[in-house]
């Protein structure tokens, strides 16, 4: 497998750093050369938070990703000029003309694992699957922090195991819930992201 350039696009508090750090640690454990650069806006709470990750078997010179193989989009605050081959996004976040998929990660985290935080690990699992990263349990165990390790591994594997059919089914089930819209509404109203996801997930 050759290397890839990944961008994780979100807002502060959504877990961009957690996903980026975990993926970078996993790839490092697997023997890849990895660069991971975080970019964030220091002036606004809930402002943009980006992770630019590159991995390869050869040393990496340019760590600035200007064209991504895959973008994981948890919010749409990323570089305007960034082009990408494939987008994995939470509901309602793919743009016209983009090739990709939408999955309600944060809501799945709440529903399947009891906390929105695990939505990050589900998203990571899906990202690893799309990138064709062939990891083992040993790699995961070595890469993940010990806290919640079993749940995190389960969530990553759940995300990794999603296929197009199951995604279609999940999205159809969630379509009526307008989760993403409610979530965005709460965040823009100043609610902390962790609280916003709980409020958005609550059925009206």
């Amino acid at each position: 497998m050759s290397g890839k350039s990944i961008v994780i696009d979100g807002v502060g508090g959504q877990g961009v750093r957690v996903i980026g750090n975990t993926m970078a640690s996993l790839l490092t454990v697997m023997g890849y050369e990895v660069t991971l650069l975080f970019d964030y806006d220091s002036s606004v709470r809930g402002g943009m938070s980006e992770a630019f990750l590159r991995y390869d078997r050869a040393p990496i010179d340019n760590f600035v990703v200007e064209r991504a193989d895959v973008v994981l989009r948890l919010a749409d605050r990323g570089p305007v000029h960034l082009s990408t081959d494939y987008v994995i996004a939470d509901l309602g976040l793919t743009k016209p003309g983009e090739t990709g998929e939408e999955i309600p990660f944060l809501q799945l985290g709440v529903e399947k694992f009891g906390r929105d935080l695990f939505g990050n690990m589900i998203a990571l699992g899906r990202l690893l699957c799309v990138c064709d990263v062939d990891f083992t349990d040993e790699h995961l165990t070595a890469a993940l922090p010990k806290k919640y390790i079993d749940d995190n591994i389960a969530a990553i594997k759940y995300g990794y195991g999603l296929d197009r059919d199951s995604i279609k089914q999940i999205v159809a089930e969630q379509a009526a819930s307008t989760f993403a819209g409610r979530y965005a509404e709460k965040v823009l109203a100043g609610v902390a992201p962790s609280e916003a996801v709980e409020l958005a997930a609550a059925r009206r």
Partner: protein, 362 residues
């Protein structure tokens, strides 16, 4: 061999510890704060290492000057606005002859500017920031592994030159996580050169011009000039031992790109078309080295994260025209570099630029 994912700021801290640093004083400021955080955590489990969070950068730099005089290899870390506040103490450190290391993780200035965006606009400040004439030794690494390596060199140069030595980094390099094997980097450590206080002798530390016995020499030009040249020549001689640079890419090309820190990494797709000169010791300038290399090339382009600070230096050094590609506003990207090259008519064939891009260059 232990390859690990290491952050640039973390590598700086680890390099400092490897170099024998036992005192850090600082005040948090993006994008350098991880160095302070690392120092704080390290001090909690290493009683031989002392950490002090000060009320501001003026107190921080003066604390490390005091710590160094008291016997500890000392350092601080900051960014543009904090580095500005430190300048009076930098001059004092040069006048008195106090070894210490100041890490400046550059962001976009002036003022508060863009706190999390990378800039390279503090170059002149690291050379001319304080008052009077002094010889500043400054290094600027390019990779996380180099952050570790050149932090050790910075401490060594500080000890040998008995002066504050500056290690430059930037928001990208400081926050970059990269796979590195720091254990593989073997830089011999220079032992402490300054006798600690409380050894029984009386010592005078004065920013005022004095004779060796401590009497004021504030009106004795001959003595001042004697001391100035002595210290300048001694620090220049030390700097010569640390003449680090890279001459690479396509050395047979007609044009030489001069770039430093993160910039040559971002510009790497241009490697087949240009030769590269990457100064790692930024100050004193690498006059001899560049004078030997530059005449081989018809043209010279300086690509840098400021509006020509180093380009002006190179032009003055070589007494010939150099082209400029300024990367401003944190825009460190191949898009900005190729637009800049296109702007000066030096974009290699095979590269296309988006003429509608809002990125402004030159």
């Amino acid at each position: 061999m232990t390859k690990k994912l290491v952050q640039g700021n973390e590598a700086v801290f680890k390099g400092a510890v490897k170099a024998g640093a036992t005192f850090f004083a600082g005040y948090p400021i993006s994008p350098s704060s991880e160095i302070l955080a690392q120092a704080s955590v390290h001090a909690a489990s290493h009683p031989e290492f002392r950490f002090l969070q000060e009320e501001d950068e003026i107190a921080s730099v003066n604390a490390i000057l005091g710590g160094s005089l008291a016997g500890a290899k000392s350092f601080t870390a900051t960014s543009g606005p904090g580095f500005s506040l430190m300048q009076e103490a930098v001059g004092y450190g040069h006048k008195v002859g106090i070894p210490c290391v100041i890490v400046n993780v550059m962001r976009v200035g002036p003022g508060t500017g863009m706190p999390t965006m990378p800039g390279q606009g503090d170059l002149n400040q690291t050379r001319y920031g304080s008052t009077g004439d002094y010889t500043s030794i400054v290094f600027y690494p390019s990779t996380v592994a180099e952050c570790y390596e050149y932090t050790i060199h910075a401490f060594n140069a500080a000890e040998e030159s008995r002066s504050p030595v500056i290690l430059l980094s930037d928001a990208f390099l400081g926050h970059l996580n990269e796979v590195a094997d720091l254990d593989e980097i073997d830089v011999p450590v220079v032992a402490r050169t300054l006798e600690p206080l409380a050894k029984g002798s009386t010592r005078l530390f004065s920013g005022v011009a004095t004779y060796p016995d401590g009497e004021p020499a504030t009106a004795d030009s001959d003595e001042f000039i004697r001391q100035y040249y002595e210290s300048r020549d001694q620090r220049q001689a030390v700097a010569e031992k640390y003449a680090f640079y890279e001459h690479g890419w396509n050395k047979d090309a007609e044009t030489l790109v001069i770039a430093f820190g993160i910039t040559p990494r971002v510009a790497r797709p241009l490697a087949p078309y240009f030769a590269l000169f990457r100064p790692i010791r930024i100050w004193p300038t690498l006059d001899k080295e560049l004078a030997e290399i530059a005449p081989r090339y018809k043209k010279i382009i300086v690509i840098e994260g400021s509006d020509g600070q180093y380009a002006n230096v190179v032009e003055r050094m070589l007494l010939r025209r150099v082209e400029r590609v300024p990367l401003l506003g944190g825009r460190m990207s191949i898009e900005a570099i190729t637009l800049g090259l296109d702007h000066i008519g030096m974009l290699p064939a095979g590269f296309a630029v988006d003429k509608t891009s809002p990125v402004k260059v030159g």
